[in-house]
């Protein structure tokens, strides 16, 4: 175990020496990897923020429950009790007279309402559930529709569904983009390691002749690839933070124009760690491919 640790420490030290031994090359590789990781990372942050916009948009994720025109006060009271007993629901009762008054305030409808012999509107409830996923909203709509004396439950779901579809499309595009840039990152690492193997040819040859195993020779290159990928992740995080900082002002102004207060939220420590880990894994993969192919000529 001590020997194993000692060999890994030596390999890590060698990888670090190679990484910082050619600062310009390292800087250029880190920039290439950083940019390759930035685009999908920024896309992820943007989608996350959009999802937040969807969640916080008021008045969108609500259902309108219309009672039968002939429903009695007892029926209405019973529905209200049922709604209040359901967890994660908020409801506002809109009496039919109140609904008529609101309709009369509308310029286009005022004349029509005035010509009606009696109030045709039913009592209604505005229901705001906590879970606003399209599936949960649809389930709730179906349940409320089955209650007695409920004439109709209207879900303003078109917008929610469209938004959800947009997010799903964005997620898919992001995954394709991430796959593309992951391949780019692997290619960058592959080439860097290939050049390193060529530069270290004499060292590899000597090491083999005096008893180095394949694992001993490969290890520093794996560490190099993983370190380069992880550092690329840090560069990408920095670029994402910089982009969010630049966008924060214009996004704030835009949300104010829509009467909302929305601020972009930056990735957390866990997300940054995941980005670095993804970079490290892809770097390691690129190194493994490159070393496997490049070392064949030493066999």
């Amino acid at each position: 175990m001590r020997r194993w640790l000692s060999q890994h420490r030596a390999a890590l030290a060698l990888a670090l020496r190679r990484l910082f031994g050619a600062p310009l090359n390292t800087l250029l590789s880190l920039l290439a990897i950083g940019i390759a990781l930035t685009l999908p990372a920024f896309g992820y942050v943007a989608l996350d923020n959009l999802r937040e916009v969807g969640r916080s948009a008021s008045g969108v994720q609500q259902l309108s429950l219309f009672m039968d025109v002939g429903a009695s006060k007892k029926d209405v009271s019973e529905i209200e009790t049922r709604l209040q007993s359901m967890p994660g629901l908020r409801n506002v009762f809109v009496p039919r007279d109140e609904a008529l008054k609101r309709l009369q305030k509308s310029q286009e409808m005022a004349e029509i309402v005035a010509s009606l012999p009696r109030n045709p509107l039913p009592d209604a409830f505005i229901v705001e559930p906590a879970d606003v996923s399209p599936a949960a909203l649809e389930n709730l709509r179906q349940e409320l529709s089955s209650w007695p004396k409920v004439a109709h439950v209207q879900l303003d779901s078109a917008w929610v569904k469209r938004f959800d579809a947009f997010l799903r499309l964005g997620k898919l595009a992001l995954m394709m983009l991430a796959g593309l840039f992951a391949a780019g990152l692997i290619a960058v690492t592959f080439n860097t390691i290939r050049l390193q193997v060529m530069a270290q040819a004499s060292e590899i040859e000597v090491a083999r002749m005096i008893g180095a195993t394949d694992a001993f020779i490969r290890r520093p290159f794996y560490y190099f690839g993983a370190l380069q990928g992880a550092l690329g992740g840090i560069v990408a995080s920095g670029l994402v933070f910089a982009a969010l900082h630049l966008l924060a002002g214009p996004v704030g102004e835009l949300s104010t124009l829509y009467g909302a207060s929305f601020a972009l939220h930056a990735p957390g420590a866990l997300e940054i760690a995941a980005l670095c880990a993804a970079g490290a894994i892809l770097g390691w993969l690129g190194a493994q491919l490159s070393v496997s192919l490049s070392l064949r000529r030493f066999d």
Binding site: S6, R208, G211, A212, T213, F216
Partner: protein
């Protein structure tokens, strides 16, 4: 210790570097492998060091048949040998000390122990004062002594050398011969491929003479 039986090495293209060579070298012996250029000296040393594999025949070192080794076992077998190459094969992007430490790192020795042993080996060949120097700054004789320090640092049971005194002046060659004599005195088995006539005369017949791949 080293037993070769009908050892043959044929390279792609049909060139036969060794043709049915048989010999036995006992533990603690020092043997010079002599012969003209192309006689098969370097090939024999490479076969003993498991750098190359025989085409046919058997080669047994310390009771292990090298001809039948699995590929994955070869690196571990090589660690039992100290190898000195004709062109030294030093690493010029590392210090003298780092060059000597390489076999110890391969063997997985902890860093501190590796440094201590590498310094002791450098001291043995008279290069401790140059431990931080780059090998390119050393003279030809010093580079050869550095190669010897790297070969012996892992305390090998067999020391193999390919023309270690070639291209050295008389004094440096004498230093190298003296070092080999010291290792021989402490019981290390030594096989040296050489055409150094002074050394051959000093060795009092402990030679294997090769001629066109056969023992002469």
């Amino acid at each position: 210790m080293i037993v070769a039986n009908s050892l043959t090495k044929r390279y792609p293209g049909g060139f036969e570097a060794l043709a049915g060579v048989s010999f036995e070298i006992r533990a603690g012996e020092m043997i010079l492998v002599t012969g003209h250029s192309g006689a098969g000296k370097t090939t024999l040393v490479k076969l003993i060091a498991s750098i190359e594999r025989p085409t046919s025949g058997s080669l047994v070192v310390n009771g292990q048949n090298l001809s039948a080794l699995r590929r994955s076992a070869i690196p571990y077998v090589r660690r039992h040998f100290g190898m000195i190459f004709q062109d030294q094969k030093l690493l010029f992007d590392r210090t003298t000390l780092d060059n000597v430490m390489l076999p110890l790192q391969i063997a997985g020795l902890p860093h501190r122990d590796a440094v201590r042993r590498a310094q002791a080996a450098l001291d043995k060949v008279g290069l401790l004062a140059r431990e931080k120097a780059n090998p390119i700054a050393l003279s030809g004789g010093e580079q050869q002594r550095l190669a010897i320090a790297r070969a012996v640092v892992n305390r090998p049971t067999v020391l193999l050398a390919d023309e270690p005194t070639a291209n050295l002046d008389h004094e440096s060659a004498h230093d190298i011969r003296s070092l080999f004599a010291e290792f021989h005195r402490v019981g290390v088995t030594i096989v040296v491929a050489t055409h150094d006539q002074s050394w051959i005369e000093l060795c009092h017949g402990n030679t294997l003479r090769l001629d066109h791949g056969r023992l002469a």
